[in-house]
């Protein structure tokens, strides 16, 4: 059946080269390099692709062809056995290898269309099998685990829990997460900003301190957050001096 001639869209430089060789009915081992190079260059000049990657692959081959063309003009090199090296030999090998895989691809395609005519079956696991639960062998499961070991494990958990408790934080008692949310605090600070434009950070915190320690903390976080988003600026004249908060004009 031979290799079908495709539309002039080629998968790559080798594909194009193979096409030129076949349409010119020439021997892969005796490629008229000048003619083929001209035809090859002609083709890539008309290529419409703007894809640099694709283009570069074709250009690499163009360079190879030109190199072979140049070598053919020079006196032939000889190998260790004194035989002349044909500058085209390597390219011919590559073309043949490529051609072989291309041919195999067609073979595979035929195989695939035949194999696709076999249908398979989904698993049909009977309920009795699906619902089977392997009994647990407790003896094996427990193995060499002893009560002593279990006891050690329990103690280590308790110890670990103790490590987790931060002595400072634990004095606060439970922190109620819902009580003060950062979002709420941010909007209340922003409202305050609208009315005051410029105010003392200490005053702000003193008001909050009347509520709870948590309010102070969250207010502080809210100020930091608003600073980050550029809603306010903070100034301090000297170390430990009064911290002044000033509203920034909205960006627009």
């Amino acid at each position: 059946m031979g290799i079908p001639v495709k539309l002039p869209v080629f998968e790559g430089p080798l594909d194009l080269l193979l096409h030129l060789i076949e349409s010119n009915k020439i021997d892969i081992y005796d490629i008229p390099i000048v003619m083929i190079t001209d035809q090859y260059m002609e083709y890539i000049r008309t290529m419409e692709t703007r894809d640099l990657n694709t283009m570069s692959e074709f250009l690499v081959m163009a360079a190879t062809l030109l190199e072979i063309k140049a070598k053919l003009l020079l006196p032939a090199e000889v190998d260790e056995e004194g035989e002349e090296i044909d500058p085209r030999a390597e390219l011919a090998e590559r073309l043949l290898e490529y051609k072989m895989y291309k041919y195999m691809a067609y073979e595979l395609k035929d195989r695939q269309s035949l194999a696709a005519r076999a249908l398979y079956k989904e698993a049909t696991i009977p309920d009795e099998v699906a619902s089977y639960i392997e009994p647990v062998d407790l003896e094996e499961l427990v193995g060499d685990l002893t009560l002593q070991k279990l006891n050690e494990i329990f103690k280590s958990i308790l110890r670990r829990q103790e490590d987790k408790i931060d002595p400072v934080r634990s004095k606060f008692g439970d922190i109620e997460k819902e009580e003060v949310s950062l979002e709420d605090k941010m909007s209340s600070v922003e409202t305050y900003l609208k009315g005051h434009r410029r105010f003392s950070f200490r005053n702000l915190l003193e008001q909050e301190a009347k509520k709870s320690r948590l309010h102070v903390i969250v207010t502080f976080l809210a100020v930091l957050e608003l600073m980050k988003t550029g809603r306010l600026t903070v100034q301090q004249e000297e170390t430990f001096g009064e911290i002044l908060i000033e509203a920034k004009e909205p960006r627009e």
Binding site: T124, E128, V129, E134, V136, L141, I153, I165
Partner: protein, 190 residues
């Protein structure tokens, strides 16, 4: 189509479908009289009964289905069910130790002690038969209480949970005093 071929085609259809197939459907697909199909199916049914066959033909009103012979279910179980390796992972051991020493205990208490969710571990331990539900706590939501099972005691060679080794006063000494309070507070608050 000759009978042999028809039988093969029927087998192919029943195999692929897995499920039951109406005789009328088979007849239409094979361009053959339903009566003929029914007759062939009867013949096939006998063939499947042979000793070296693991499948059989099931007759269902006006349909037929291929299915596995029940006598081979045991082998199926070995293949379809990955032999489960039951192991007590660290998480399971920790959870088990908490249940053993704090029983009856709720999921929430276990979670508080371990600091992580314990649903999976609790379920696994129940599956293994090491712990079980022993009641409900008289608290909002009436959470389930868990305790160790008799099997648990048996596999550890103790006759009652009273026999579980307790944490001795000296051991408790080792715990930081202040931390201990905290823990007690946390646990008993519930």
């Amino acid at each position: 189509m000759e009978n042999e071929k028809l039988k093969a085609a029927i087998e192919a259809v029943l195999f692929t479908m897995g499920d039951s197939v109406e005789i009328s459907h088979l007849a239409a697909a094979l361009n053959t009289e339903p009566e003929k199909i029914r007759e062939l199916l009867k013949e096939m049914k006998e063939r499947y009964e042979e000793e070296d066959r693991g499948i059989r033909l099931l007759e269902l009103e006006s349909a037929y289905q291929l299915c596995t012979k029940t006598e081979y279910y045991d082998y199926l179980i070995r293949i379809a069910k990955q032999p489960k390796k039951y192991v007590l992972t660290e998480v399971l051991l920790e959870t088990l130790s908490i249940v053993a020493y704090k029983q009856p205990v709720t999921r929430l208490e276990i979670e508080k002690i371990r600091g992580v969710k314990c649903d999976h571990a609790v379920n696994k331990l129940i599956e293994y038969g090491l712990i079980e539900e022993v009641g409900r706590l008289d608290a909002p939501g009436r959470p389930l209480l868990f305790g160790t099972t008799e099997d648990f005691l048996r596999s550890f060679g103790v006759s009652s949970t009273e026999d579980l080794p307790r944490i001795s006063p000296e051991q408790i000494e080792d715990f930081k005093e202040e931390a201990e309070e905290e823990i007690q507070q946390k646990i008993h608050k519930k």
